[in-house]
Amino acid sequence: MNKGIVSGIKRMEIHDGDGLRTTVFLKGCPLKCIWCHNPESISYEPEIGRFEEKCISCGSCVRTCDTNAFFIKDGIVLFDKGKCTACMQCEKICPVFAIVGYGKEYSVDSLVEELLTDKPFFGDKGGITFSGGECLTQTDFVVKCAKRLKEKGVGVYIDTCGYVKRDVFEKIMPYVDKFLYDLKAIDGDLHKRLTGRDNAAILDNMKFLSDKKCAIEIRFPLVKGYNDGETEKIGEFIKRLNIGIPVKVLRYHDFARSRYNALQRRDTLPEGQTTAKDVVDAEEILRNMGIIVIKDN
């Protein structure tokens, strides 16, 4: 596959991985985590998000859309996502930026070129992070991009949920400097409830990467009331891996809520808050188990 679908590129990422990084979010994910903070990366297809709260009902999108996905009812501009073919024309005409298109097609060349824009700023530590969604589901595309970036002397990180076939990791491994590997729960049933999938393959793949001595940083997204009971189990699991694999506890927040609404996607985000103290407590437990904990900024 020489084409990839990208839901967004974020330059100047200084809190995700080391140094200054550009993160590229690939579209589509096999998991359905209830707390997902990138709902625009769940579907594999390009789509439109329409932020109602910004709309001034100027009607430009209604005049632009050929499929009547935008229409006026009682003087209010409404959006019927079912009719949208994601041609992205409306995105370019909204005067208040209330319409955002997610999912742009890139060739390997065009993506690599864009990702290299900030290369002079990366320094020794920085580079590119592939994230998502689950970036590894667009396997061939990501492998080709990563290979090209390595050739250009840029470090590559892969942010993954781990839910892909073993051979995907085998293919990408030679071009990766570090895996940022999500670990959400050890209990299989709980994992399935929270993400829609079993975690056997995920744990297995992590063990595989660890055995291969790949650089890994484990990410534990802490959602109070949902997976905070897993902290010790995660610690136990990490202890069985290669020594020295660090973990970062990520604090759940609900900043993504407006995007769920804009995408007309069922909002599954937990209501309760995870506090800074919850994170500190989890970190403390892990540290006491002898695990290296990296502070999240």
Binding site: K10, R11, M12, G59, K92, I93, P95, D118, P120, F121
Partner: protein, 740 residues
Amino acid sequence: MSNISENVFEAKYTLENKPLLATSVERILILNEIKSLFKDLPQPLRFSRMLSILLSKVSTPVEDFDLIAGRCVDRVLTDEEEKIFQQFITSPDYTTGKVFIPSGHCTFSWETVLEYGLTGLKEKADRAILSSEDEDKKVFLTALSEIYKAIIDYTLRYSAAAKEKGLNALAENLNTVANGKPNSFASALQLLWIITLIDCAYIAENPTLTVGRLDKILYSFYVDDIKKGVLTEEKAKEYITDYYAKHNLIMGRGEHQVGDSTNSTTFLRICNFDAPQYLLLAGSDGKGNVCINDLTRLFAECIVPAFKNPVVVVRYVKDMDKNYPSLWKTLVGKALKSSSLMFYNDGNVSSTLKRIGLTDEESSEYAHFGCNWCSTGDNGAWMHGSPHSFHFNAIKDEEERKQLYVPYMRGNLPFSWAQDVVEILEKLCLKENADIEDFYNEFFRTMSDFMDRKLAYLSKELEVRKRKPSRVLSFTDCFTKCSLETAQCFSASAKYHFENQSFWMFGTVVDSFTAIDQLVFIEKKITLKQLCDAVKADFNGYEDILGLCRNAEKYGMDTPLSNKHAKMLAEKASELTIERSRPYFEREKLFLMPNIQSDTYHLKWGELFGATPDGRRKGSAFSQNSRPTNGVCVNGLTGMLNSMLNIPSDAFVSGALNLDVDGKEYSGEEGQRIFGAILATYFNRGGLHAQISVTSIEELLDAKAHPERHRDLRVRVTGYSGIFVDMCERLQNDIIERFK
């Protein structure tokens, strides 16, 4: 509490708590008393006599913790005094502007001042009087001599005051300064401060004085003292800190560019009101040697983030981050504390000056003055900033006088190249098969015509200035080499005469060109006529076009088309500025200085002008200085800097970039390292300028709501720093927009 922290505390407290209506009371009352004296004398002598009286009468306050002496008394006037003040400033005898000619925005010959000392300068003037035949020159030189004498006497009075307090070392330094050449680091700094104080607190309204490349010119004093064992690094830092602190005591509160009369009290009350004083560090010399030494480090380490002045200008030399890592770390750390600090790329400025025609040596001795303009150093006079109005007295013929006054400006409106784009759009939509090339041609024809008219006007003005150059004296002349050598005012006798030529509203212009090119010529979504109609109607009834214009690529997004137009516009504008100046430069060393400044006029003019093709609506702000339009930098800081790197590195001498960062983003060692690396990469690749404000939207909004809690919140405005809560709402809102 050590002595120094008392000074820092005092300065910080004064900055934050001085009453809004505080006035330099002694200056006003004394000048009011003597305003009618010496009326029969020519201006130079009237100036020297009045200044002598003023300096002999003002008090000489000294505090126990002073390491450097020199303060000015300011306080709120009594009702009776307020009446006198109001009468005085409206009186026909009001001295400022006529006798105390405003001499702001200049650079003194600090090295010469230190070399000769006050007595040496006086001797030089006295000798020249004897050998001069010309009556005007004699008057000019006599006035100079009297002014030096007045400063010497004032310094002696200060010495006595220090002695009375038991501050013997201070008294001794002041004595040295009064009686001869400075002979130590402390006495040199003292001399510089006395002169700065007199200029900024008693003479020049809005002085914005460049206080010099202090790490360079004080270095030999420092090294000698260390060798002799009379100074330690720690003691030198105490002197520097005190010198910094003193600058802040003589300021008023408020903001001078956008400020309205409710919270700004103007330079009439306090000469120095809100003016920045620029101190330069680092850089290189004419032979390409880097001028970074131990003093550079000490001056950097002593920067106090809470202070407004001096504004420290770091002349960034290539690979400063790699070659001077600890200095760089110190500077980045200070910048991230939102200090009054800015970085100029030394290579950019000097290579632009060389392109204009200055020698290698001269191109390395430039300076910056408020608000963020570049000067050629002490051998050049800024036409506008020089006392031009006074020279009109030299014109006897009323007709000629009128002729000169005929403005070279178009209509009654000030300039905005953005507005020219709209006029060109109106014109070209009538032309068949117009293309983007036509826009370029028309735009630069307009720019070229304007520059020609401006240069012709300036040349005429210069001619008038040169007719009787010894009949005008400003304080700057006392400390400027060319005036001393020629017995003529620097505004006529300087080697170079320049005026700024700004690419006003650069971002808005680039965005307008990009929108026209993208929507009309490349994507063919709309016609020129449709775009023109929409712009003229302020997009009312043209919402679809407004949406297209706003969604077009923008300078700051780092997209290919906006980058291309930024590069072409910047390159050509700079070239044109230098090319149109060429004949004047060759004939009379007069030229236009290419820069990308708008100061805060992006607000004022934005209010006056109609819509522009980038989707900006009538009355809203333009882009500021060299910075992209607020809110368009969707690709983050590096995206913005990459866009700006399309401005050629030998094209402009100034152009402020406000870099606004949320402190939380770059906290800790690693955050600071990353920020420093970004900044250094930008400069190493040819970036021109950066000044950093560190706060957050939340803090700014809270400061607006609860000013009393944020008295110490400081942000960069254009070339100066402002106390956020003392600014008018319009400027506060603009700063909040910058942070979005």
